[in-house]
């Protein structure tokens, strides 16, 4: 492969890794900070993508809108829409222990997928929404890819900055306390439900942002793009591999796992050529790599559940010596 090809592939790789990093950071607010299980990440991701698409595409007969609004408006709208869906889900389910939330969120993701598939007037159903504009229309070729990568990196940095600030705030201290001992938090006079809903909505808003970034990057979305595999399971593996509760870990996990994911087909090919992997498996390599990612998750859970970069909560502020 020539250099230009490798370079443009690398740009595409990093763009997707960045989008996944935003997704993993959003999930970290829910799972890492608060201990909430969201198995419906794909649903919030999809809501963000569709909202951004409808807001920014040119008017169309096929779906609601498009409203032809600027890129940034689409991003904000995507975050708000995912936040509203999360608020509705959260108010119903967050009173209960996390297993119920896990079950409820697969329900939500499934219903959202059915909704996107069947409500033609809103989403154009299975045919999806094409020609989602790239904010850098003027650029061409590799310049376009590089420019969009720059936008994604800026947003990853902004997201990191925001969630890291949150992590060091008294608010996240309450979340960690809820994760550790809910009754104690209740006894301290805090509304556990309120904090949980806030954390769930905050995390989901970043998932919506990731969805918007994805929609503009690919230019076309359909319900098929938001399968539980790509939308939910990969972000989970990324966060757990990188380190639950650690925002740098979430970003690192996104890059590493996306690397493993994109590299496995080549690896399987290679192993097939030297005869280690039988041919019939190589033909079904896309399933073999799902199997391998699943296996990787289990190995991490058993051998290093804290991930590559374990969580490091901020130290309590040292009190002045004379205060006692």
């Amino acid at each position: 492969m020539e250099f230009a090809g490798v370079f443009s592939y690398l740009v595409f790789f990093l763009t997707m890794a960045g989008i996944y990093a935003v997704l993993a950071l959003g999930l970290n607010v829910q799972w890492g900070y608060t201990g909430q299980i969201n198995i419906g990440v794909a649903g919030f991701f999809a809501v963000g993508a569709y909202t951004a698409a409808i807001m920014t595409t040119a008017p169309s007969e096929d779906h609601l809108g498009g409203f032809g609004l600027p890129f940034v408006v689409g991003l904000v709208a995507a975050m708000i829409a995912s936040g509203i869906v999360a608020l509705a889900v959260g108010l119903i389910t967050l009173k209960l222990r996390s297993d119920y939330l896990a079950i409820a969120t697969i329900g939500i993701a499934e219903i959202l997928r059915l909704f996107l598939k069947n409500e033609q007037w809103l989403t154009n159903g299975v045919r999806g929404i094409p020609s989602i504009p790239n904010p850098l229309e003027g650029l061409t070729g590799i310049g376009l890819g590089l420019g969009y990568l720059a936008i994604v990196i800026v947003l990853v940095v902004l997201t990191y900055w925001a969630v890291e600030r949150l992590y060091r705030s008294p608010w996240a201290r309450v979340l960690r306390a809820i994760r550790a001992n809910e009754d104690a938090v209740t006894a301290a006079g805090k509304s556990v439900l309120r904090f949980r809903v806030e954390a769930f909505v905050t995390g989901s808003m970043f998932m919506g942002l990731a969805g918007a970034l994805y929609a503009h990057n690919s230019g076309f979305i359909s319900p098929e793009a938001f399968t539980p595999m790509f939308g939910t399971f990969l972000p989970w593996v990324m966060l757990i591999a990188g380190g639950s509760g650690n925002n740098r870990g979430a970003i690192l996990g996104a890059v590493v796992i996306w690397g493993v994911w994109t590299m496995t087909p080549t690896l399987i090919d290679l192993l097939n050529n030297i005869g280690i992997v039988p041919a019939f498996l190589a033909e079904r390599a896309s399933f073999l790599r799902i199997f391998l990612i699943g296996l990787l998750l289990e190995i991490i859970l058993v051998t290093r559940p804290q991930g590559i970069l374990p969580e490091r909560p901020p130290r309590p502020i040292d009190l002045p010596a004379d205060s006692g």
Binding site: G35, I37, I39, I92, T93, L96, R97, S98, D99, Y100, A102, I103, A104, I106, G107, I108, E110, I111, L114, K117, N118, M229, F233, W236, V237, I240, L281, R284, F287, L288, I290, F291, I293, G294, L295, L297, E298, L301, V302, P305
Partner: protein, 287 residues
């Protein structure tokens, strides 16, 4: 009117299939304290094991069924020994996440071995019996009858045997069960055995009623969980009642809403139950 009775029959068939899955989920919930997300894919695996018996080895369906439930139970126990047992000391949530990983591994295995396309047990269309304007498929008798027989066996096991009693005791209070000398690891193995058998049966019946597909079980997971919660977690009889209600409600809902939204009905019933009475109909556990 006849339409409603017909839908009721569809609902009972679907409810019987859901019930077999929901009992397993409810038992695992009660004894191991985690939501087993790989249960749907365990059903899928069971359905494909039976396909090996029917299509690969030309066995009659009954023997293929026995072979498949035995193989699935072995896989179910195997997963526990290799993986879940090592995570038992972690928080139950880690077990839940791990089971999501197992779900994907099982599904990708099915896709690797049997391919991603639809399969059927037997070619050809079964002629339905028409009785008083109602349509019955001969397979339905096997599905509902088979499910009922398995449930009666389970009932006898839980009520009459020492092991069944130990299982109920452990579900009620694991610590108390342990100090009164119950071998809890043995109970855990039996739980996986029963859950595996019932999951395989559910998968095979689903495959007989419709067709085999690698995501058939995952798609049924939501109604299965809904039924277990609706009936009360840790209460196998509740799971049966919950499953019938959810199966019938899903089919009946097609009178008023688009059939595409059938899974939403299970979800709505589950959420309503969680709001109204989190312990479920049969006063199970609240997680």
């Amino acid at each position: 009117m006849i339409d409603i009775v017909q839908l009721l029959i569809y609902g009972i068939v679907l409810g019987s299939i859901i019930a077999l899955g929901a009992i397993g989920v409810s038992l695992i919930f009660g004894i191991l304290r985690f939501a087993h997300f790989a249960h749907g894919d365990l059903m899928t695996l069971g359905a494909y094991f039976a396909l090996v018996g029917v299509a690969g080895m030309n066995l009659p369906m009954f023997f293929a069924f026995l072979l498949a439930i035995a193989a699935t139970a072995a896989v179910s126990i195997g997963i526990d020994r290799v993986l879940y047992r090592r995570l038992r000391r972690s928080h139950p949530i880690i077990l839940l996440i791990s089971s999501v990983g197992v779900a994907l591994m099982l599904r990708s295995l099915v896709q690797m071995i049997w391919g991603p396309d639809n399969k059927i047990y037997q070619a050809g269309v079964q002629m339905p019996w028409i009785v008083g304007g109602l349509r019955f498929k001969p397979d339905w008798v096997m599905i509902v009858g088979g499910a009922a027989a398995l449930m009666i066996l389970l009932h006898l096991f839980l009520q009459r045997t020492r092991l069944g009693k130990a299982m109920r005791a452990m579900s009620d209070n694991a610590d108390l069960a342990r100090v009164s000398g119950i071998d809890t690891e043995k109970v855990v193995i039996w739980t996986w055995l029963i859950a595996g058998v019932l999951a395989a049966a559910a998968g095979i019946f689903l495959g007989m009623d419709t067709r085999l597909h690698p995501i058939m079980g995952w798609k049924l997971l939501l109604p299965v969980f809904a039924a277990a919660i609706f009936g009360g977690i840790g209460k196998p009889y509740g799971a049966i009642v919950g499953a019938l209600i959810i199966g019938i409600a899903q089919e009946m809902s097609t009178l008023v809403i688009s059939p595409a939204y059938k899974p939403a009905v299970a979800f709505a019933l589950m959420v309503l139950m969680l709001i109204w009475r989190p312990t479920g109909l049969f006063r199970g556990k609240v997680l």
